[in-house]
Symmetry: C2
Subunit: 427 residues, 2 copies
């Protein structure tokens, strides 16, 4: 009873957490009680955070973010609706609400997902979540036990990969090809890996590659997962942002058997700061997501749920999205055009039909981290491809470029600088 | 390869989740891939949800909620600030933001927690979370492995208990006495239970009992946990709502060794619908909470973080809280007074000095669920004590009354009805 449960090392720093560096030392038996959970110990800070730090310097041109263009936010309309909410519906907009989400908004999202993407079927339900990220995290929480295997494209979205890691699952990356995931590698992984529970995909304008999966591959992926009893988590944050070519049906539209969970978001079509997303999935899954969301944040900010609902009722979202598409098309063409002018031939660029990212591949063996460091010195921020790999130590001689956030002038100047660094670096 | 991974039963309902009732049947080996995670299977819907359903009928007087009074929301001030944000700071208020929270708000919360409660020490840091609930859930996520033991008061807050359950920990309840947790029972649990990681407490105006833990017990709890290397999670959502007597220091104020995580919230002093809370804890813990929050919802709605920040800068929060206290004092006195008039002597009532709940204890063996059903028939909603027990099958002949939500007239009429039911029921 009188023996302290803390180990001596920890007591020296006056309490178990007085020094942030103390945590890794708390693994001895004596200190079990003050160690962090295994799932969180597994989560390491990413290299991307260091790179993004340089973007806080206002003189740096950032192609590193994943932000929508600030000029795309419908500020005037939102202000007008907000004023009305405070005047007429303040109690409902500021009081506790239900976990599933604001009913009128759920209905409008359901209708839109059905009409626009065929992404809600009979037997499916819709839940409002606090951004697409929460849809991903909660899906993993309700489906995966520790030690289960989650498959994903490699490279993929860091936020999703870290959400999976935070539940101590085994992540396994499947290589990407120009028309989407490598089907043979996927089939092999499904056939050989133990306890595969989930396949996470961003089939349209993928983050970070900008690649869109072909319809035939979508069909093949669906059939493979159906046969193996593996759930598909389809993340589609950029699906509304097509600026050329024709829509490819979402995988959820093929889902006759109820094995696809579809995540979407208002972040890229309204505002990301309001944290508003949605999930369409079979009812039994939505019921579990509701239980998990209730213990996570009770419900999503109800004021902005009501605001989004009224925006959908009173304004023309499609017209607004058309303006965003035109804006991004112009920025994309500017970035692609400057790349053609300034980049050396050894640099290969994807040519996405939408979304907010380009992916630039350099000759094998290029030291991408060093390249990113040199760019940061020249005040241009880019993100190394290694940051998006399931294992950051996997060689990846590519980097990601974002074209939605910078202005046309920043694109011109930043790409010129970047081209110069690339020419010097590749010799 | 050709054999479907779904079991026959499930295929009949056309896909694994087509029928919500199919889930419990998916446990066979063939269906492993479509089963929900063990942590979520452990989470059962609570009886309270059924009871709260009757409160959707507007003719029902609800003493069942845990809502703040809608008339306490500073709507005019919030509307004024919101209008300014849209006009002058729209980009920052609608764009992605940092996970830790809006820096000026973090600094103001830190200053207030230090001055008002002495709840931030050197070496501590503050994070903004999406309501107090998220602070509780993330604390469990970063600290507890599956199978760890979490101790709590019994009865306690259902939202917290379910958050713990959702990480598959072993919950163990410690009886409550009039001046707080039973110290002997706590000492015994700490000495005998395996892998105790966390002690969850609502020391001030506890939910559901309204009980405030005495200072001597707070000291004893702190010493016991320090000796055993157990972290204290101090939840203080009602701490600002004292309407009589003197403040009792929060446990975090005693925390010289960095073993207390303190959760607070704007829900009861500004608005719950905006989902705004905060956590004060040692820096190393906050760093892990940031990582866990990043994968959960990236950041809390930044618009309302900036709004709260400006509210704190431009308006007198203490004066606003003083008005809420006066309002709740009046409602409390009305409810306590009507109870004295209408309730039979066998009903024992707590007399809290603040918060939003009363706790009514009936003779042992009273069928509380039946009583609550009878009350619902008479259009008065109350919550049975069993709902708040770690094990809902534990006998608990008490019920919870909320006085912040109903009007004075509803209190008078509802308590008269309730008194009639009680007299009939107890004979």
């Amino acid at each position: 009873m009188s023996k302290p449960a803390f180990c001596a090392k920890i007591e020296k720093v006056s309490g178990p957490w007085r020094s942030p560096r103390a945590a890794p030392e708390t693994k001895g038996t004596d200190c079990m009680n003050v160690a962090f959970s295994a799932r969180i110990q597994a989560l390491q800070p990413s290299a991307i955070r260091e790179i993004l730090k340089v973007t806080q310097d206002p003189s740096v041109i950032s192609f590193a973010a994943g932000n929508p263009a600030a000029e795309s936010f419908p500020v005037k309309e939102m202000a007008q609706i907000a004023s009305g909410l405070f005047n007429e519906k303040a109690t409902a907009a500021l009081q506790y609400s239900v976990t599933e989400g604001y009913t009128p908004l759920r209905e409008k999202v359901r209708a839109r997902l059905r009409e626009r993407f065929d992404a809600v079927h009979d037997g499916d339900d819709v839940i409002i979540v606090s951004g697409g990220q929460q849809g991903i995290e909660l899906s993993c929480k309700v489906l995966c036990d520790e030690g289960d295997t989650v498959l994903c494209e490699n490279p993929s979205f860091i936020g999703a990969l870290n959400a999976f890691r935070s539940y101590n699952v085994r992540l396994h990356g499947i290589p990407l090809e120009e028309d989407g995931i490598d089907i043979d590698a996927l089939a092999h992984a499904l056939a050989t890996l133990p306890r595969v529970k989930l396949l996470y995909l961003i089939p349209t304008f993928q983050n970070p590659s900008g690649i869109t999966m072909s319809l035939s591959k979508r069909r093949a992926v669906y059939e493979l997962c159906l046969r193996r009893g593996v759930i598909i988590l389809e993340d589609n944050p950029y699906g509304e942002l097509r600026f050329s070519g024709d829509d490819v049906p979402v995988i959820k539209s093929l889902d006759t058997e109820g094995i696809v969970i579809y995540c979407g978001s208002f972040s890229k079509i309204l505002s990301p700061g309001i944290r508003l997303g949605f999930v369409s999935a079979p009812k039994a899954v939505i019921q579990k997501l509701v239980v998990a969301k209730q213990v996570s944040d009770v419900h999503t900010n109800i004021f902005f749920q009501m605001l989004a609902d009224e925006y959908l009722a009173r304004f023309d979202l499609d017209a607004h999205i058309a303006r965003i598409r035109a804006m991004y098309r112009e920025k994309f063409l500017a970035m692609h055009g400057t790349a053609a002018r300034y980049f050396p031939k050894a640099a290969g660029l994807t040519r996405p039909d939408g979304g907010i990212f380009l992916w630039c591949t350099l000759p094998e063996g290029t030291d991408i981290l060093e390249l990113c460091r040199l760019c940061a010195q020249k005040k241009v921020a880019i993100v190394p491809g290694t940051s998006f790999m399931v294992d950051e130590n996997t060689p990846c001689s590519a980097f990601r470029l974002n074209f939605s956030t910078p202005t046309l002038e920043q694109i011109e100047n930043g790409m010129a600088t970047l081209g110069g660094v690339l020419r010097d670096f590749l010799g």
